[in-house]
């Protein structure tokens, strides 16, 4: 079996955001990203700061570790990054999880296609808005959505856009217009990914969440969306591994 670069395996906990918000799950966080978003809350996956924590693991190593810490307490695993879609051989892990009747969720920004996308039960494509300083390659994103449509995977797919400012909001509307067939989730951006004052962070995030709701409910071009906060940040702040 080939190796997968892993930075964190933790859980069980709950998924704090997106299409399966609240779901009991384990997390596997892969190392490496082709983006470098200005506000990345997982920058340690790609900025070198956690280089020494990266472990090269086979799919079986990862499964063993999941069972070691999660025991019988889970039937859902979320793979996040970094960008797990950089890893062609992730299919080995996905297959192994499915063989063990584990549901698999995965989040990626939509900069790369992998054939194993069609095996994911809850696939979140989260294109990055202007405030990230990244720019979306819409030719690739179109192809990804097209492939998922061809493989009849729309029920397992959602789009998620994090909103920090007006330009991000407009970007999200563009995404909604471009892919009206895919459920769209808007998520409040966390400007303070290193802050340690949880009470303060919670009230700031809830205020921003309220503002985003106010905006969306008055916008007749965004009738078909879901607007969500990050529950794990409300509960645990910026702590890692929960």
């Amino acid at each position: 079996m080939s190796k997968i670069p892993v930075l964190e395996i933790f859980g069980p906990t709950i998924q704090g955001e997106g299409m399966v918000i609240g779901k009991k799950t384990m997390f596997v966080r892969t190392a490496g990203c082709d983006y470098s978003c200005s506000w990345c809350d997982s920058a340690f996956t790609w900025d070198g700061s956690a280089k020494d924590e990266i472990v090269q693991m086979t799919a079986e190593d990862i499964w063993n570790r999941l069972k070691e810490i999660g025991g019988d307490l889970f039937n859902h695993v979320t793979i996040s990054g970094g960008n797990p879609a950089l890893l062609k051989n992730l299919n080995e892990l996905i297959n192994l999880l499915k063989q063990n009747e584990i549901e698999v969720a995965l989040e990626t920004q939509g900069s790369r296609w992998q054939d194993w996308f069609t095996q994911i039960d809850d696939l979140t494509i989260s294109p990055k808005p202007p405030s990230s300083n990244m720019s979306t390659d819409f030719a690739i994103l179109d192809r990804i959505i097209h492939n998922l449509t061809d493989h009849n995977r729309l029920e397992q797919t959602s789009l998620k856009v994090v909103i920090f400012d007006e330009a991000d909001y407009q970007y999200a509307k563009g995404i909604g217009e471009r892919y009206p067939q895919i459920p769209l989730y808007l998520q409040v951006g966390n400007r303070d990914v290193h802050g340690e004052d949880i009470d303060n962070l919670t009230s700031t995030l809830l205020n921003q969440y309220e503002q985003l709701i106010d905006r969306v409910v008055q916008d007749d071009e965004l009738n078909n969306v879901r607007v969500l906060p990050q529950l794990h940040t409300l509960v645990w702040g910026n702590k890692r591994g929960v």
Copy 2:
């Protein structure tokens, strides 16, 4: 057209809980309930305190009112109560909404079946745990789930149990065991439905949410659940009409 007793029509806002949490929606709240849960957060729908606010409306009246306040800002309507399942003639409203390409969500405790259940896009059945002081008629609940299964409506159905204490938690586990084929949502109970100090309420609810998560993640009999807070209470406290 026959009349429907309505207590509130408001929105657009977001759905704060359950299977379509975060969804942009309008709310129609019907009057009347066959239960009287100890911690009911909508007691004004049945305790007589808002008797003078009840308006008898036809389906068309309701639709006109929705358009009047919601304009073009919605394509989803949530019907709640009270117990809207007391109203056989609600099918007139549901049909009218569907004719206008509006998706319909509805919440009921599962004490009555109505044939129009099979027309609902997002049906939440929320049986009430012991702390409510109500007791579940499982013969009826079984029949409801059976009918929904027969009509191939499981993808549009979820179960939701509000948890206040240990007995409620055990009750929720029983619900999960009894209906393993239906997605189960556990929701943190709000003990303080009249409190006006939002900051305090938010931090209490987030603490209780964290405790419920801690409990669920250590319980191998509840692997397949989603654990959620009430987002509207986190954002707006106990205010009505948001």
